[in-house]
Amino acid sequence: MIRYILRRLLLLIPVIIIVSFMVFVLMDLAPGDITAGWDLEGMTVEQIAAMRADMGLDDPLLVRYGRYMFRLIQGDLGVGDHTGISVWYNFITRLPATLILAGASVLFGVAVAIPLGIFAARRAGKALDTATTAFTMVGMSMPGFWQGLLMMLLFSYILGWLPAGRFVDGWRSVILPAVVAGSTLLAACTRQTRSSMLEVLKADYLRTARAKGVPEKVVIRKHALGNAMIPIVTTIGVSVAVAVSGTAVIEQVFAWPGVGRWIVESVGSRDLTSTTGAVILTTIMYVLILLLVDIAYAFIDPRIRAQYADKGKRKARAKNTPVITIADKYIPELQDSIPSADADWSYDNTEIAAVRVAGGFDKQDKAAPMQADSVVAAPEQSLPVEAASAEAFVSFATVTDADAAKIETVVVENGESVTRKYRKRGRGGEVFHHLRRNPSALGGMIIIAIIVIIFIIALIMPVESVITPNVQYRNHPPSLAYPFGTDVMGRNLFARVIYATRFSLPIGVGATSIAAIVGVFLGSIAAFYEGTAADEALMRFSDSLASIPGILLGMVIIMTLGRSVPNLIIAIGVSAIPVFIRISRAAVLSLKGSEFVEAAKAIGLSNFRILYTQVLPNGLAPIIITFTGSLGMAILISAGLSFLGFGIPVPNPEWGSLVSAGRDVVRHQWWLTTFPGLFIMITVMGFNLLGDGLRDAFDPKLKR
């Protein structure tokens, strides 16, 4: 166990190196440097040059990087470019506030999510379950800043119950920010609990327990939950990590004196040293928290504990008991001894590429494919994945593609005539058929259709209609002429919100598409060269990228490249790449060993061809689901970025900046924040609903 911890800590080093190098290079690309804000009036060119030489500003990149790292190892993160205050000091004094906020929000989120998830799982398909799903759907789709502002409006200004943040009134001031920060976590965690429970509720060992006469309550509490906790712990862990490092937006809204605000200030003021230090420190925090989660696994899951046992002990045990607990690749001979088939979790272990339990059939019901799904995925499951996509990742484990659906048609032969039950439907047709019947997917598709129409309208709207001031009508509340009211310059908010679609939608779609293309390509290569140095390198890179919180990375890239639509696409897209790498790698890995792939090899098809014509098409399901989930997330991030001031420059409207514009006057001109935020929420919800519907449609088992 100690060895494992030490090894993981050692792995931190390459991650830090990669992350710091990436940031360093980015900073370097940014125009100007530390001297940009200084008052250099009156200095001669030679003096400036000499000063720069003294600071080593014109040295080659690698030299400067080396110097930075050298100081970093000694614990010196430098001082703020403009303030001169030690970066470490800034960080460490603000850390407690962030930790308190993160801690409170996690506590709140988890305390509600787990019981709620169990509650929903046990009533799957019934009204209360649907209500819970709707509730979590809303929670996941609401932009945090908007929710924060509205709650502040309601609870602080209107009702006066709670202080509006600022950490001055003792514990009461944590409540509002914690609830807001915790609600995304709450939503994600509830959904995760629900789906893990659903998965576990199907397990055979529950049937064994019932057959023993164990009371139902105990079956659920002890047997089911005990196993469901494993994936739930992942989500909690990931959420904690995200909470700790991603609170920038919440801190802004509630004026919370935490690390997030400091980062936003640093990036905004182009304080390169502080930004670099901040990113590195955040990354370290993130990765450490996930390490803790992994250690927690060992206490919950004895199979993992066995794996961490000393190699020597493990070997001895392997010889005594004729069972090898974990295998390196799918080895037919070891199939019998691979741990319990319902282990649809990957084991975090760099020695394992994938554990595949499949290639079998359910002997009891020969008509049906094996209950235990073919597997799962990649190692380092515990490393950073955004909350919403963690779920997508996890649910992949419940969708099997190669094992396909059970028999749907049993053909009875009666001489020559045949009775068939179903119309011939291709896979796509199947999916579409189920989508149509799924109310939430239908809802999602309708919403998306409406948004697309609005987008088209936005494209033909002349820009003048949204930026021309009309001061006579300024600050009007909503009315017939102005359904969303007017802003401080008298501009029609309704028109501006609609016009904003022209940016928000392409940014979201563009970013996710780039991430998908790059991610799937890299992921399938990684899976293809599984186990080699190339695979390792790719995964290290992917994890490093993933350990930088999305908004933070976005801010840094924008700061470097400047604020424009294409840059926003890049900024947001880059942070979504790791998810796609991970999902597609897992999909390809699980299919790689399939027998139809072997058959294709036997026919003489080349590996490349097999990968792209046989494997990937069958692995599309999780990728598509991830795509819709990421789309929603991309729109949220883009809104967050523009809320913080990193979006498209004025006067172009963008939803996030529209919300931000109204934030100081939320008490009086509530419409300025409410409507744009509502739009964000509905759009994101549309994509999430579709994603949910797709997941259900792709999962043949739900039809049973």
């Binding site: 327990a209 057959a211 023993k212 006469g213 164990v214 005990g226 199979r303």
Partner: protein
């Protein structure tokens, strides 16, 4: 069928399991799967019944119904009665059911790999059953769990290990230990050895036979393998499309099988003693369980089918112990011809 006349294998007249006209359907969104369509069977104390059939015959659903463990949506127990040690299972409340499960009637399932809770020790899983049914302390229940392990051939010290540390055959032994821990009167075993290697299968079957004799448990052995039936069972019921098509003693079924489906099953098996003998498969496929005919479900595949077979049928008695669901036997002198030639007598 007169139950009293069947004294094969049992050592008393006590009927421990009595299923009458059981009907179990699964109602899905577009259609209804008629899994079990009027099954009647019974067991006396210490007897073993083999329930034979292929996929979709309804064997597992029958067994689950006996424990009232059928998944209730979409499953529906439409009619019938199931008496375990005299009490009607279908009328019991959950609390009563929990009492008899594991204590009066136990079940072991097919796949040992997924039947055990991966995060609980093996000993704890056995002990749990004991604690719910017997008034013993935790310590005593673990002690007893250790004894059960020894009984199934596993050293008691391994009670502290987790399922993943055991191989397939040993896992199945643990499952057996759990099922027998409280000495139930009836044990339902659903294809307990299908997932195991041949030599391990032999070990586990012998173990089951020994335990059965030692503890006097009545056993329903669900299987598709006629060899398993020959090894462990006293009585046999052959199921097809949710109905029992032939019911009798081992000698009845193996020496004088009468139903065309049973004949087909035997003819499909390679004969060890005559490797060159041709296999005669049953042509066609299993019927669609959502569209079962009114008459004989086997009729489309039957070599001996005539028009009359399409009409509804009734179980008929051909001897004290042997009964059959086949209209052709109403004709005097009708017999299947067992084309493969004589099966050697045991």
């Amino acid at each position: 069928m007169e139950k009293d006349k069947i004294t094969i294998g049992g050592d008393s007249d006590e009927i421990v399991l009595d299923v009458q006209d059981l009907v179990v359907h699964y109602v899905l969104e577009d259609e209804t799967v008629e899994a079990v369509n009027g099954v009647s069977l019974w067991l006396k104390k210490g007897q073993t019944l083999g329930l034979v059939g292929e996929t979709g015959a309804g064997k597992t659903s029958t067994a689950l119904a006996i424990l009232n463990l059928v998944q209730t949506p979409p499953g529906v127990i439409k009619s019938g009665s199931i008496n375990v040690c005299g009490a009607n299972v279908l009328e019991m409340k959950p609390a009563q059911l929990e009492k008899i499960r594991g204590k009066d009637v136990s079940m072991i399932f097919q796949d040992p790999m997924t039947a055990l809770n991966p995060v609980m020790t093996v000993g704890e899983q056995i002990a749990e059953s004991i604690r719910y049914h017997e008034k013993v302390s935790d310590k005593e229940s673990l002690q007893k769990a250790g004894e059960m392990l020894e009984l199934v051939g596993i050293p008691a010290v391994r009670a502290f290990e987790y399922p993943h540390q055991f191989s397939g055959g040993m896992k199945q032994r643990v499952v057996i230990a759990i099922a027998l821990a409280c000495n139930p009167k009836v044990l339902l075993a659903d294809e307990p050895t299908s997932a195991l290697d041949v030599t391990i299968q032999a070990q586990v079957l012998d173990l089951m036979r020994d335990l059965k004799e030692k503890l006097g448990t009545a056993l329903v052995m669900i299987t598709h393998d006629l060899g398993v039936v020959a090894t462990v069972c006293d009585m046999v019921a052959v199921m097809y499309a949710g109905k029992i098509v032939e019911y009798g003693t081992i000698e009845d079924l193996f020496n004088t099988p009468m139903h065309p489906y049973t004949e087909g099953l035997f003819n499909s098996l390679p004969n060890i003693k005559d490797r060159k003998a041709e296999l005669i498969p049953i042509r066609g496929l299993m019927p669609d369980p959502t569209k079962l005919p009114v008459g004989c479900a086997f009729e489309p595949r039957c070599r001996y089918a005539v028009e009359a077979c399409k009409a509804p049928l009734e179980m008929r008695q051909v001897s004290d112990t042997h009964s059959l669901l086949c209209s052709r036997y109403e004709e005097p002198g009708f017999r299947i011809d067992m084309k493969r030639g004589e099966r050697a007598h045991g």
